[in-house]
Amino acid sequence: MSIRHGLLALLERGPMYGYQLRAAFEESTGATWPLNIGQVYTTLSRLERDGLVRPLPENEGGQRPYELTDLGRGEITVWFATPISRTDRPRDELAIKLALALTTPGVDVQAVVQTQRTATVQTLQELTRLKSRSDKPGDMSWRLILDAMVFQAEAEVRWLDHCEASLVRYQPPASGGSTTPATADTDDRTEAHR
């Protein structure tokens, strides 16, 4: 998640100071990505350095609001118009874990899959519970974020189901590095467990 673009998008609504930005960010994302105030100010000073925001005079309470510059407005327009590339996301630790589980002696891959599936479905249940309690029209932003997390978790479960189905049919290469399939009388499932 780009805090930088998040703050720019919020400033599109009008000038805000640090604490207001933090509160607005958390409100928009349902506290899914909590920010500390230090991150907000560090990001604001970088945005100012890059000419995307400019500070306004302090208000009576001693808080300094920031506003978008034309450059900042352009940046946010481009951000909204550009899809997020999957390659920009961190490597998928779960996929790597399963790949390693398959080739590590003594690991029950099906158990690894099930442990993950239970955890992911549990997360789905929690997200769904939150969703079922957010029925007010004003909760729409929050519901969109919850739905994004729900569909991502669901996709993970479907992928795990797919992995499990593949594992049932999986025949590991014979020992010694050969790629010859296991003999016909091998119990697939037992092999997949290894």
Binding site: G30, Q114, T118, Q122, L124, Q125, E126, L127, E164
Partner: protein, 237 residues
Amino acid sequence: MILELRGVHRTHGRGETAVHALRGIDLAVAAGELVAVMGPSGSGKSTLLNLAGGLDSPSQGEVLVEGEVLGTLNRKQLARIRRRHVGYVFQDLNLLASLTAVENVALPLELDGMGVRKARKLAAAALDEVGLADLTPRFPDEMSGGQQQRVAIARALVGERRLVLADEPTGALDSQTGESVLRLLRSRVDAGAAGALVTHEARHAAWADRVVFLRDGVVVDTTSPVGEPEQLLGAQA
């Protein structure tokens, strides 16, 4: 406890060709609780639901509905339990095309000997609860898929019935309509029914309080009960 399965086994066939559909299942569903059963094809999900509804008998073990052991009942008594206490929602609705919504919902009550007027009144109230008060005189083919599924849920929970068994109830519905059906099922369970939901979709199972994972007729794992929203927000943060 509304539904209990104790050490339930179900074997189809004998000897070498025997298929062990369920092997030692223990499951309890209380009032106000929705339990989802997930598992790959052939894992025993539908067999479990059929046993819970008295549509099939276990080879070993006991199934109890509202405290009554189904195996000790004669055919007539079993039919009475099924009509009075158990409601079903299937993927393929099973609404009768020649009956209106209110007649479909009233049918199980009328079959149980209730007078037509009283049965229709209860059916209309059940349709009102699922948001279909205005559609009581419509025939199934005059309603959308989501509306028909709402009728099926009203029918499953009309009268005294407090156990609803749902087998892939969102089958052919689009994502939004499917979700509204689950919201409805959830709210009926929150109002005091007990529910068992069989589904292969995690997003739908997630509406349950507990998700039970079946594989090869055995429960391989279960999720823990879901906490309250405040705790969850903390967990998300």
